[in-house]
Symmetry: C2
Subunit: 247 residues, 2 copies
């Protein structure tokens, strides 16, 4: 008898390594698996590769992309989707070079998936994952055509060397996000302009941190779902990926 609480997943888990560290991502390949497809590399929020990220990967695959949800923490290292995950995220935020190596390992694993056309890659992410998607662009991940950050962290690493960003960047930002204040928006606008990146920012009035997450219900902390901003951002992302990957 099957357990009714375990959903049947359309994707599969994939192991890969960053040096000695074993990581585990989740790939969803749209059917039919005829010719190679563009790939969306999905970077998880601070809770790691938990249920919400698995569901998101399936939504991206439903758009016709292979989606590979990468893992920044390590196989079976999972946090609490609605709790505090500082202990997982903070070490990687303190060592951005380590974080970026982890991300690049995931990005490379995505490119090795048979169903993927590794010449047409995008990176998307939510909250901490938005920062991760941007870091892939900052590190010059090969053939990265587009990045979309949903209510993501925007801060550049302290000692960033790369001077040019080739990916087309879309920042989807809640203006009332207390975790990502206007000063961070000004800083990344300057960074991306200096890096000659093709970029745009969509800022949504009154929207707070995590505005696309239906379970985010802490408006007093500035963390809250906003259906209008969520819908707008999803539409903007689709447009951005179509322009960068399908044309």
């Amino acid at each position: 008898m099957s357990e009714t609480n375990t959903p049947i997943r359309p994707g599969r888990l994939v192991e890969y390594c960053d040096g000695e560290t074993l990581l585990e991502g989740y790939v969803v390949v749209p059917q039919p698996e005829a010719s190679p497809r563009a790939c969306v590399v999905l970077a998880h929020d601070w809770s790691g590769l938990t249920e919400p990220t698995l569901r998101l990967a399936e939504r991206y695959a439903a758009l016709g992309y292979v989606c590979f949800a990468i893992d920044a923490y390590g196989k079976r290292v999972r946090g609490d989707p609605v709790g505090d995950n500082t202990h997982l995220m903070a070490p990687l935020m303190k060592d951005r070079d380590l974080l970026q190596r982890r991300l690049l390992a995931g990005y490379a694993a995505a490119g090795r998936i048979t169903a993927v056309d590794s010449a047409r890659m995008a990176a998307v992410g939510y909250c901490f994952g938005g920062l991760c998607a941007l870091d892939l662009a900052r590190r010059g991940a090969p053939n990265l055509k587009a990045v979309v950050s949903f209510h993501g962290g925007l801060q550049a690493p302290d000692h960033q060397e790369r001077t040019r960003i080739d990916a087309s960047i879309l920042l989807l930002h809640g203006w009332s996000d207390p975790i990502v204040p206007p000063s961070d928006v000004l800083a990344i606008a300057e960074e991306l302009t200096r890096a000659e990146a093709e970029w745009q920012l969509h800022a949504y009035g009154h929207a707070q941190h995590a505005f696309t997450f239906e379970d985010a219900r802490f408006p007093d902390l500035g963390i809250a779902y906003d259906s209008r901003a969520s819908d707008r951002s999803w539409r903007a992302m689709r447009q951005h990926l179509v322009m960068a990957l399908d044309q």
Copy 2:
């Protein structure tokens, strides 16, 4: 024999008054003129009701809206579409109350057009006209559902009384616009948030002032056409008007 340089216009000029001042707008009504349609009130750039604004009015009408291009300067007071028009704009920027009365007179004239459903109104504008469209929202123009500013001035009047803005606002902004610096963006974000307006900002990296105007060719002055930002902004405007007026 007709003069070949005079285009045959699909619209017509309409006189109206602000007190003693005679003004002249340009209205374009989509065919067929069956039932009343939503209206886009178009505010001209600093050159006044010149050729580029007439053409824009026709583009808005082609979307299915009645478009009324209002006049802030006075009948036959026209500037140079590619020259310096400070002498026309500055007096109204110095007397925002006068400007706003002029705008409200045009807005009221739009509502009196037979083909217009005056319950479904929007205001759009370019450069100086973007500021004018925002000022209609600031002054609480009745039934104003949506405002779209293309590379518009964002500064609030010095002594603004109204505290609530009901129109849904879309700001389309070139981040490298030297005439509208980031400090103005921060200020209007705060203003609109405080006014409880439903708002969003789309900022385009590297785009300068007047980015939708094909004749703008002064990149050294920060005034230049940008086809990508122009296309993106037109698409965003359409989406915004459909959401606010057609649903």
